[in-house]
């Protein structure tokens, strides 16, 4: 009885710990891109993973940074430990405390302070700053794992070696080092994995064009994480597991009974640390060789692009570099709010950025944008005038921005669950669909629905209107199954909800996965969003930026990007090139003017209004 209970308890713990990993591993073999539908077994993500240059180069960066920072941190940390160990005990305590603080310090503080330091020292953020940051935060871990070994080491063995004729360095290497080697190796492995894991510190200290796996994965949040990443994560997990098995399977200490048998094996010791460390070196080395083979040529003409994650066909950049001889450095961000401070700090002079409508207005009002010289962008003629007109709400004179991707927000519904005609936001307040409604978990998107339903502007700053919208949202809350971001897509595909508020760009994909889904723009009007290319005022290569924007407006290139991103393109000439009629004529992607009647584009409302919105939203969420 007791034993059964114990086993059940153990099983529960194991399930809790490993269920997430197992889910990820299973999904990495799922032929369907959706997370809620099994599309059959496939290895395609594994094969496309190794063909994806962006992922492989992020992997390479991750491994090289992890390896180099671990090596250097191990070196510095081991020397530091030796120094600390030979201090008097009072100072030793002080120094151990000082070195432990960074471990307890939150990553975000470390990350921001490192970034500020690097900027203050006029370092260019990039590979070297990430490396320095990683060395910095890894050193305490090395010290932490070397110190106990040093303390255990019998001081007289060092003296014995000196006594037998060894010089100080020789004595250390021959006698002390082998004793602390297990600690040094585990410090190295710990530093390696800490570096591999780190996102926050890397995020703050990285520069354009350098990505590690964690920042790369995070930059994909907006468009949904690609299954290749599941495959990669599975491989990483398995490698770590193999290392752990090797570390633990070798015998612990050569105890007295075993030592006779061990004597022959002794030369191969210490198996349990050397092999994993060797594996780590091998992997990093392989990554390095891989990267050497893929390095392109470098030219003087440069361009630094800052774009949403997964928001440009990588091949387009290759073509651009080939045609113009300009070397492109490409960096990605996850949200407008993460991009904005980076531009504002001017730590990096980006040449071309792709923010959303309201953010363009905010950047313009803060003098962060340069006017585009239209003589250099003749292809602007390909852009649908409708969207040039829409852009005026955030760029009144059409001076700063070139529309890149556009879309609407609408209702996605499941035809098998909703039999009536869906044409109004009102349906989201219908009792019939209690617990089957999905709302967007973001303040402006949620309020836009409530305001539009009442016929108000979604940029409203009228207090009465906002309070009414707040009350409506609170009244709606019992009906809402969940406030989510990108799970709308998966939940709708998996038939988990009847109605959901979704971006039109996602609608096409969900319909393909689940034909029962239908997308409508409610008759009250909605949010038309536009992501446009702009040039920051501190751009160093403005003409190249204009060349790049012009290049992206070329119909064939715009088509490539459309097919890659699958969000609607405002490029009329590109749309005409789409071969599939159902897509070219899709009113979901390319709504007619009448569909957009009463629709608006988000504007930046000012800091005060912003915080008022947030206050009301918190009221809704906490009810």
């Amino acid at each position: 009885m007791k034993k059964t209970a114990r086993n059940i308890y153990l099983a529960l713990i194991l399930i809790l710990m490993y269920a997430p990993i197992v889910t990820l591993m299973i999904l990495s073999f799922n032929a369907s891109k959706s997370r809620s539908k099994w599309g059959g077994f496939t290895l395609q993500w594994y094969s496309s993973l190794f063909r994806d240059d962006a992922i492989m180069s992020a992997l390479y960066n991750t491994l090289v940074i992890a390896f180099l920072s671990a090596i250097l941190a191990t070196l510095i940390g081991t020397c530091a430990s030796i120094g600390i160990n030979s201090m008097k005990s009072r100072w030793r305590t002080v120094f151990m405390g000082v070195t432990n603080i960074p471990i307890l310090n939150s990553d975000i503080v470390t990350g921001i302070s490192l970034m500020l330091l690097f900027i203050a020292c006029r370092f260019t953020l990039g590979f070297s700053t990430i490396l320095m940051a990683h060395i910095t935060f890894n050193i305490p871990y090395v010290i932490l794992s070397v110190m106990p070994k040093l303390k255990q080491t019998n001081k007289s063995t060092y003296e014995a070696a000196r006594d037998l004729g060894a010089g100080p360095f020789q004595a250390f290497m021959k006698v002390v080092f082998p004793d602390i080697l297990p600690g040094v190796l585990s410090g190295f492995l710990m530093a390696f994995t800490m570096s591999l894991d780190d996102f926050i510190i890397t995020h703050f200290t990285k520069g354009p064009g350098v990505d590690t796996l964690s920042t790369k994965i995070y930059s994909e949040v907006r468009k949904g994480i690609r299954p290749e990443m599941y495959a990669l994560s599975t491989l990483l997990f398995l490698s770590v597991m193999v290392i752990m098995i090797l570390v633990n399977s070798a015998p612990k200490e050569p105890d007295k009974k075993l030592s006779l048998e061990l004597e022959n094996e002794k030369k191969k010791l210490p198996l349990r640390q050397v092999i994993p460390a060797a594996l780590v070196i091998l992997v990093a080395g392989a990554g390095f060789l891989f990267h050497l083979g893929s390095k392109g040529s470098v030219s003087d003409e440069k361009l630094i692009v800052y774009n949403w994650g997964e928001y440009l066909d990588p091949e387009v950049i290759d073509i651009f570099e080939e045609e113009t001889g300009i070397t492109v450095t490409y960096e990605e961000y996850e949200t407008n709010e993460i991009m904005y401070p980076k531009i504002m700090s001017k730590a990096i002079a980006y040449d071309v950025v792709c923010p959303s409508d309201y953010m363009i207005q905010r950047m313009r009002e803060n003098d962060l944008l340069a006017k585009i010289n239209w003589d250099n962008v003749p292809n602007i003629k390909n852009i649908d005038p409708t969207y040039m007109e829409q852009s005026r709400s955030f760029d009144p004179e059409n001076e700063y921005s070139v529309p890149y991707c556009v879309g609407t927000v609408g209702i996605l519904y499941n035809k098998t669950m909703v039999k009536e005609k869906v044409d109004s936001w009102d349906i989201l307040w219908d009792e019939k669909y209690r617990d089957s409604i999905l709302m967007q978990d973001s303040v402006r998107d949620a309020f836009a629905v409530a305001l539009k339903r009442r016929g108000y502007s979604l940029n409203s700053v009228v207090v009465d209107e906002l309070i009414q919208a707040t009350d409506d949202l609170i009244a709606q809350k019992p009906l809402v199954q969940a406030y989510v971001v990108d799970q709308v897509r998966d939940k709708m595909i998996g038939n988990e909800a009847a109605l959901g508020v979704i971006y039109s760009g996602e609608a096409l994909y969900t319909q393909r996965e689940n034909p029962n889904l239908e997308y409508v723009i409610p008759k009250e009007g909605t949010n038309v969003w536009i992501d446009s290319w702009v040039i920051p005022s501190n751009a160093q290569n403005k003409e190249n930026a204009e060349k790049f924007i012009n290049f992206l407006c070329r119909p064939d290139i715009a088509l490539m990007n459309f097919e890659y991103i699958t969000y609607a393109t405002p490029n009329k000439a590109a749309r005409d090139l789409i071969e599939d009629d159902s897509i070219r004529n899709s009113r979901v992607l390319f709504p007619e003017a009448e569909d957009l009647k009463g629709s608006e584009t988000f504007q930046f409302l000012g800091d005060e209004a912003d915080s008022y919105y947030n206050e009301l939203w918190n009221k809704v969420k906490s009810k």
Partner: protein
Amino acid sequence: MNHTLVDLIDISKGFGDQIVLDKLNLSIRENEFLTLLGPSGCGKTTTLRILGGFETPDFGQVIFDGEDITNLPPNKRNLNTVFQKYALFSHMNIEENIAFGLKIAGKSNAYIKDKIKYALKLVNLEGFENRLPDSLSGGQQQRVAIARAIVNEPRLLLLDEPLGALDLKLRQDMQYELIRLKNELGITFIYVTHDQEEALTMSDTIVVMNQGYIQQMGSPEDIYNEPQNAFVADFIGESNIIEGTMLEDRLVKILGAKFPCVDEGFGRNRPVDVVIRPEDVDLVKPEEGTIQGVVSHLIFKGVHYEMEVQANGFEWLVHSTDMFPVGQKVGIHVDPFDIQIMHKPVSEDEEAIGVNE
């Protein structure tokens, strides 16, 4: 032949505020088995570490075979140390441990092989070449440590309480082993211990130390039979130390009674300390004794009985093969040559200062 190998001249050493050695002078002759004996903190280990080169004296000189080696690092000194806790290299097998010094000295492989074989034979560990230190018993490890030191053919071997971690039986075996080794190798041993029995058994010369000063230096017999102050008498073996008055040459008054003795030159009516070893106290019939007392305690110790006798306000410790039951009245008699007279220190400080010179 027995010329001086090591001279310590005016060695002083302090750690922080604490003075560990104060103007210590010591000569060690070639081929001597010299033991530094004293309680912990007496400075004996510091003296050894200064000899080994692990500490530098604050003042003074270390002369080795006529050469000043005060500031020479350990690896440049022609001596080797056997450490208290063996300090074997746990990741090397026995062979590699022993070969360590020879390899650094750049000896040929054939020479090293011969030496290992010889050394292991010397310490009775043939066939242990490939074992790891952790698989050996304490006594075996200690013998490896000795072998590792002596293969380098040092002129001087320093041993820092090498038997301290061993049990009693093994310790006694190792004592004989060390004497044998010393005789076979013909090198000088400096041995540090706090165990007076070890010191008495093995040494040619014993240096008794306390609070950084040498208290007495001499052969084991000298030290035991003629301790020069109360500290030495108390530290070496068991003693009755009694305050007395030297009435005149060869006559001392203890506890109100006059005892004839053999000491001269203390002057008249001088206060002295009198040392009488417990085995030198003869218990006789009350009327035959110099003073009378009553047995208050009795323990059987195997080779003898240990008794305590209350006499004239002093508790006498007595070792005797004859048994006197508790409560029995006895007389106490001491032969004149068994009475050891010592100067009485004026202050506590003086008690620690050596008076041997």
